[in-house]
């Protein structure tokens, strides 16, 4: 656009009633949710807010990984929780070699074990859900056979990892890592060629391949990113629980996928953002916290999460459809 040419003011497109209803309804729901949260007794205390940030950290890191995979059109990985737990084990047991080697080995494990799943998904179009389910089962079974089912503890004489569980002004270290990860991932997605290729591959895989984009490389890349995120989460989890078993997995996989979906990621690929996923993670953590403070049963939290995922997925789909 040259400076000399006058810019043409195009008329704003007319907004359909359905669009207005969706927008208005969405804002109303968010407003109602905020009211629900802050009207909960004990919610707005610094101690509770710090607890929310802590519980967000692990889920959020995995959610970032799921976001990258989702944007590339490969649905999600159901083995990330296993990667987290096993990375925790690798990290703790590698502390005998020193702090830096332990970090390096854990991150390397996460990157490779997840990346290797991305290869058939990217290169051959294998179904990512099934590949990751299968690989996850193999990893879980193998690690139990290797460790004999016992907890992996911090070896004696290992360097101190206390800083991993410290907090600044009440905000846990893990949350800073999460925010840094979200900002970093967002930068890669929006400003690098790899990131832009990821969106394109997710949008239309065949067209991207025809255009010469490295579809296999992109899939490998997003799975590596997810694996690294899971490994970081594993390192934090291992430090917090001072011992690592498969129980670290919990329901991490589903919470992470739910957080990414609630943050607006489309499972079909082509849209999503790391920052929105971060917001979705904190939102879900906050809602769970409020529900717990109001003495609702565990089942209510899971039910609410499921309903929110259901509704948000529909809304995101409708918005994408109305745009195209």
């Amino acid at each position: 656009m040259s400076a000399s040419a006058p810019s043409v003011l195009l008329p704003r497109p007319a907004r359909s009633p359905a669009w207005l209803l969706l927008r208005g309804g969405g804002l109303a729901v968010i407003a109602a949710a905020c009211w629900f949260l802050f009207a909960t007794h004990g919610f707005a205390t610094s101690r509770n807010l710090d607890a929310i940030l802590l519980s967000s950290s692990l889920v959020g890191l995995l959610a970032l990984g799921q976001t990258a995979i989702m944007i590339s059109g490969s649905f999600f990985s159901l083995s990330l929780a296993a990667t987290t737990a096993i990375s925790a084990m690798v990290f703790l047991s590698s502390l005998r070699f020193g702090l830096v080697p332990a970090f390096a080995l854990a991150l390397l494990f996460g990157a490779l074990s997840s990346g290797i799943q991305g290869l058939p998904v990217g290169a051959w179009g294998a179904n990512p859900i099934i590949v990751t389910i299968g690989f996850g089962s193999v990893m879980e079974g193998a690690i139990v056979v290797i460790t004999g089912g016992s907890t992996v503890n911090i070896p004696s004489g290992a360097p101190s990892i206390h800083f991993l569980t410290s907090s600044v002004d009440g905000i846990p270290f893990g949350f800073f890592v999460l925010v840094a990860g979200a900002v970093g991932l967002e930068f890669v997605l929006r400003r690098t060629r790899l990131g832009l290729s990821t969106y394109l591959v997710g949008e239309n895989r065949r067209a991207a391949r025809a255009a010469g984009l490295p579809v296999g490389g992109v899939a490998f890349g997003v799975f590596v990113v997810a694996g690294v995120c899971a490994a970081v989460a594993g390192i934090l989890a291992g430090a917090v629980s001072q011992g690592a078993t498969l129980s670290i997995e919990g329901t991490l996989s589903f919470n992470a996928i739910a957080a990414a979906l609630i943050g607006g990621c489309a499972v079909a690929g082509g849209r999503g953002s790391a920052v929105a996923t971060l917001a979705g993670t904190i939102g879900i953590s906050a809602i769970n916290s409020a529900l717990a403070l109001r003495n609702y049963a565990n089942g209510v939290q899971i039910l609410v999460e499921g309903v929110i995922v259901f509704v948000v997925v529909i809304i995101v789909h409708l918005r994408t459809r109305s745009r195209s």
Binding site: F75, P120, A123, W124, G125, A126, N127, I129, I130, V131, I133, G134, F135, G136, S137, V138, E140, G141, A142, V144, V145, G149, F254, I257, A258, L261, V267, A268, A297, N298, G299, V300, Q301, I302, L303, V304, E305, G306, V307, I308, V309, F310, V311, V313, I314, H317, L318
Partner: protein, 333 residues
Amino acid sequence: MTTHARTMLRVVPRGPVIFAAMFAFLLISPTFGTGHVDTGSFSDVMTTFAAVAPVAVAVGLGMIAGQFDLSCVATYGLGGMLAVKFGESSPVVGLLIATGAGIVAATIQGAVVAFLRVNSVPVTLGGYLALWGIVNLLGHNQDVVVYNNTGVNTWLITPVLGIFTVESVIIIGVIVALSLVLRFTRFGTSLRAVGGDINAAEVAGVRANRVLIGAFAIGGAVAGFGGGIQAYALVSASSSVSFAPLIIAITAVIVGGVAMSGGRGTMLAIATGVLSLALLTEALVVLNVDPQVVTVVTGAFLLVVALTGASELNRVRDMVRVRIGLLRGAPAS
């Protein structure tokens, strides 16, 4: 490999071959392990079959329709919980409620997928979580909710013809009925058409929305009913919905020969797949294998099937062939 041999390999169906292999594996396993194979082993196989088949049918129906239903394992759990809670005085009422709830839960999700054309994966993920929450609430987060009507249990586990039980006969009956529906009604043909290419099917006049919702509803009914029956057979229901049975069901369905891409598959294929997995796990029991190794083996099974059934494998294979041909100096063909 000659062209003829390659064509023959493509024609041979995966499901029956794997079934025969697993059957043989079970028969020869005593030579390598400490256990032995007798009618008890086969009756264990049928018990596993009765437990896994309902979820596999639901997943399989969804896959034939070109969708991926992650929630059917939760519907199965819900069916069990409802049957136990409401079927104390009348098991039939309990089963009706379980089946009905399954239909409702599945139809809601199916309607969203059909009318809004939302991807079934995240929709059924939300459904899975929501149903799990409901099961948890109904069971008050207790690990096990006991069913107090033991008469039904005694009846369900009565042996029939040596290796079957009343429970497995009922499940087999449901599968046979469904296979007749899929093979001989227009619904069955429409289901495969919708699963293969939904747009082409609609152009050809198929009421895709009805077919999709129907597939979900039938899957939900079978899952709910199966969950109820299983709860009666075990005299209990669980408040937690584990994802593991879904993994086994997906493996069974794909191993049996249902195409991951949709549009192809039969009830017989699903049943064959479930039987193959049941035979495999029984063989591993005879071999006295660590339960964790069983997890590894089924996971590896799933991986191999997923990798060999990958949609773009043909493209990769052709590309490799072209490159080798070019290297040799032959014209690409």
